[in-house]
Amino acid sequence: MNQGKKIRVLVAKPGLDGHDRGAKVVAFGLRDAGFEVVYTGLRQTPEMIASAAIQEDVDVVGLSILSGAHLSLTQRVLQNLRAKGAGDKMVLVGGIISPADAGKLKEMGVAEVFIPGTSIKSIADFIKSKFTG
């Protein structure tokens, strides 16, 4: 990570899902909590997200998915990051995700899954604990 600099986060919307309230709110909230935040906007392919993560030199990639397509989309983002040599970036997923699927996502290599009702503070605390701990 960028020593002494702000933690950089990419908030991304993979796939065709247009529900972006959560993504935007988390982007605003993390920015106000002292992170550097880049928001991709809608309809990003896994390839586009991995490229943006590298180009923007982020430490964290946050994926927001409410379409039920989280397993396949997250898998592809992780594959793309690894293929581009960026497999060390922390990947977080937010959305309507069942406990069973959250388990599967963590097995794939996702650091944490955040469901509706999560406070931005707890997301910020989680990220900080991983980078300063």
Binding site: G15, L16, D17, G18, H19, D20, R21, K24, V25, A27, F28, G29, Y39, G41, L42, R43, T45, S67, G68, A69, S72, L73, R76, I96, S98, I115, P116, G117, S119, I120, K121
Partner: protein
């Protein structure tokens, strides 16, 4: 009267200084946590005929219809009555490949459902991609059914033939950017069945402007999108007398974060922009406005404010039509909407999810107070993932039945009419919404306010404000940001009755549908499709041409949804959102 009001005003001041003050001192409060409304709180006095009127009459504050035979007992009806011999579209549904959705509808029929299809399409279909597109990968058949060609509509509608054929059954299509393509498919289906177009009953959502503000299934930029809207408005008005032109949805904007006043002002501004398209096309407003419908408005747990909101919405739409558009037919002025107050999907919680049943019942009671059916929406498992369980649907329907038959809530229309509080709240919400509406008109109307990103930014800002209030504990959601102590029981729920759609079929749907698409493409006359697509392109380049007849020809030749959308993308371009 005036003297009486003055006396009440004086008495209220005295009450505040004496009786109320004593209570505040006793509880050591600086200000009162409760309000009391007296006749003197209605700013301009109160004129019943002007501000409320009778149900089914201008300005429709009391209700859209003079009376209403609510049918909350009927399975899947959504509590909406229907004329004898006709079948209304029912619950929003659509799964996997077309075969899956057909089988779901057949299964629901066996379970007693007597409603038409209210089709949810998957995201690739909504965004103009075929099932074999790389953009569709992982999303085919997920949030709804996949439709690539006319063949897929033929399969879905195998569930609607014979006694419930499409001349007797109303269909709803939750489709926006490619709405005209789906309507062309529906007309082609009718033609194949020998049913004349004027018998078709349907409601395409066809509300593209809100897609730019919320929900996000846009394809083309706002201006060419409005040309597509104009084509549908003109075509439907001339050829499809029983089809609704649009189903305008403020609730998506609210779900995306809008405040009550933004929801109302943005939806009315969007509605006004659609009306203007019809006027600009040379039609009389009364020739098409009666076929405008609304999907839903609102979505919050604030009981009285939501009741007032719906009363204000009906009055504002009526005034807009009468005063700004010069409508003469009262039906043009009615805000036809199947759902009134509901708690808002956003406010339903994953945490202790059965509490959502309580939330939906509060919404159902408010709905009855607001001149609607006491629908208890959504089923409690809404936030647990896509597809409500049958038991959640049962409880949702039972809740509405209890409100109607046991609590007898629908015996009176607009029971809060004349309430000092509710009338004053209705006025306040209306006035704030008109202020915002006029602001948008000054920007050049809804299209301009979307092109500049104004509406999108305002909604995002409001969403963040709400989040901050939740994090600061200024707004409370039980089980989410309060009442989380160790003594609270984390009541969870097990959904024992399986959803009628087998999840294994969902996992197979993408592969299955890509195979069907390949087969359909192999069977069709490629040369004919190519020629028709070229003609579509030429037609699209001429702003004044109505594209629906061209789309109909393409559809009949089994051109795919994406082939048609790609042609239009070449001509119209694609929408790129304004920065946050």
């Amino acid at each position: 009267m005036k003297e009486d009001l003055e006396k009440v005003r004086q008495e209220k001041t005295r009450w505040g200084e004496k009786t109320l003050k004593a209570a505040l001192e006793r509880f050591k409060l600086k200000e009162s946590p409760t309000q009391f409304y007296a006749p003197s709180d209605l700013d301009d006095g109160f004129n019943f005929l002007e501000q409320v009127g009778f149900p089914g009459q201008y300005p429709f504050t009391a209700g859209t219809y003079p009376t209403f035979p609510y049918l909350t007992g009927e399975r899947g009806s959504g509590g909406i009555a229907q004329a004898k011999g006709l079948v209304r579209a029912g619950r929003y549904s659509g799964y996997g490949a077309p075969e899956d959705t057909r089988d779901y509808y057949l299964h629901m029929r066996k379970l007693g459902s007597r409603t038409g299809p209210n089709i949810a399409f998957d995201l690739p279909t909504q965004c103009g991609y075929d099932s074999d597109s790389p953009m569709a990968s992982g999303e085919v058949g997920r949030v709804g059914v996949a439709v690539d060609t006319l063949r897929d509509m033929e399969v879905i509608f195998e569930a609607f033939s014979g006694e419930n054929d499409i001349d007797r059954t109303a269909s709803n299509f939750t489709i926006n950017a490619p709405a005209n393509i789906l309507m062309a498919m529906y007309m082609a289906l009718a033609e194949k069945r020998g049913i004349s177009r004027d018998k078709l009953r349907a409601t395409p959502q066809n509300d593209i402007l809100k897609e730019f503000v919320a929900r996000g299934t846009y394809i083309f930029p706002p201006r060419p999108s409005m040309r597509m809207f104009r084509d549908s408005l003109v075509f439907i008005s001339k050829h499809l007398p029983n089809v609704n032109i649009t189903s305008i949805g403020g609730y998506h904007i609210r779900e995306a974060g809008a405040t009550r006043e933004q929801d109302l002002a943005f939806s009315l501004a969007i509605g006004a922009a659609y009306l203007q398209e019809g006027v600009n096309a040379g039609l009389a407003v009364d020739a098409f406005a009666p076929r405008f419908t609304f999907n839903a408005f609102g979505g919050s747990m604030e009981f009285f404010k939501e009741v007032a909101f719906h009363r204000a919405a009906r009055r504002m739409w009526a005034k807009l039509l009468k005063e700004k558009f010069g409508a003469k037919n009262e039906r043009s002025m009615t805000l036809r909407v199947p759902l009134t107050v509901y708690p808002g999907n956003f406010n339903c919680t994953v945490q202790r999810p059965l509490n959502n049943l309580v939330r939906s019942v509060v919404g159902g009671i408010a709905a009855a107070m607001a001149g609607g059916a006491p629908n208890c929406y959504p089923p409690y498992d809404e936030p647990l993932g896509l597809g409500w369980s049958l038991e959640a649907i049962q409880l949702s329907e039972d809740a509405a039945r209890i409100l109607q038959h046991e609590a007898k809530l629908v015996e009176v229309t607009d029971p809060l009419a004349g309430s000092y509080y509710v009338e004053s709240l209705t006025n306040q919400i209306e006035s704030a919404a008109w202020t915002e509406f006029e602001k948008i008109q000054k920007m050049g109307g809804a299209v301009a306010a979307i092109e500049s990103g104004y509406m999108q930014r305002e909604v995002a800002k409001s969403a963040y404000d709400r989040q901050k209030k939740l994090e600061e504990g200024k707004e409370l959601i039980v089980g989410v940001n309060c009442f989380l102590g160790e003594s609270e029981l984390e009541v969870s729920t097990t959904r024992l009755v399986a959803h009628p759609y087998d999840p294994q079929r969902r996992d197979e749907a993408e592969r299955v549908q890509i195979t069907h698409l390949k087969e359909t493409k192999e069977k069709r006359d490629h040369k004919a499709v190519g020629l028709l697509l070229k003609e579509l392109k030429v037609a699209a380049q001429k702003e004044e041409v109505n594209l629906i007849p061209h789309l109909l020809e393409c559809v009949k030749a089994y051109a795919t949804l994406q082939e048609m959308c790609d042609i239009l993308r070449e001509v119209f371009g694609e929408y790129r959102p304004a920065a946050l």
